[in-house]
Amino acid sequence: MQVNWFKYAAPANFFPLAGKIYPWFYVFAALLAVAGMYIGFFVAPTDFQQGEAYRIIFIHVPAAWMSMFLYLVMAFYASLGFIFNTRLSSMMARAIAPTGAMFTFLALWTGSMWGRPMWGAYWVWDARLTSELILFFLYIGFMALQAAIDDPRRGDKAGGVLALVGAINVPIIYFSVKWWNTLHQGSSINLTRAPSMASIMLWGMLLMALSFWMYSIAVILSRVQCVIAERERRAAWLQHIEPHTT
């Protein structure tokens, strides 16, 4: 196990592995999505309070889960790359960010689509929606910083510092927003509801979450291949131009 890990920590070894396995994750994602959607749209009964609109949560909740989970994973990889100077970890962080941002956007979009019929407004300054929005800003900041830095090594390290600072701040932001929310609004709006979520609904959500997970793995592995290829190519190209580079 240990040996494997270190072997695949080198981009040159990881590259073919990623290429070999990533298409399979698309397949898993598609199969799980079919199962989850079937349960969500055909098997799960109509919610007696929310009508059919509640079916949005089969996308919304898994997307929100993924958006938060991917930020943690991204911050973990970025700080790993920063602390131990492992190139592949930083590349993984780079590959995760766009997908995480996409899921954050989807969580916001589907959340407002769900909120309009439930709350009568597309946007409510609810604690969860607000922190999701801030999470979106954090993703954008991370991507913007890395895009602005031309030197890939500097970009990796700067991203590592930013992700680390961001990850430390996420709980602080979350709790302050939650506190702000309880002070400024009564309990008129409460997302924590879901009194007796039928277990079949839970299964649908779980399957969709797994599907999104598989999708993320596929996309991230595919993108990390691109990142590696781009970087190696640049290195080779540099060696041509400047003979003294190592």
Partner: protein, 58 residues
């Protein structure tokens, strides 16, 4: 299966716009991301994604 007809399924109990736009945007975002990735792979001359047989993506 509890839908009486295809129309009822598409109408989503009057919430068609909200439900289908959520689903639609999710699908568009994923297809777009995969498409961008594939064109990036092509540009970098990476091998195209192949599982043993052809399949439809999400």
């Amino acid at each position: 299966m509890h839908w009486n007809s295809l129309e009822a399924f598409f109408a989503m109990g009057g919430y068609a716009f909200f439900v289908w736009s959520s689903l639609g945007v999710t699908l568009i975002a994923m297809v777009l991301e995969i498409w961008i990735l594939q064109s990036q792979r092509k540009q970098l001359k990476l091998p195209r994604s192949t599982v043993s047989q052809d399949h439809g993506n999400v």
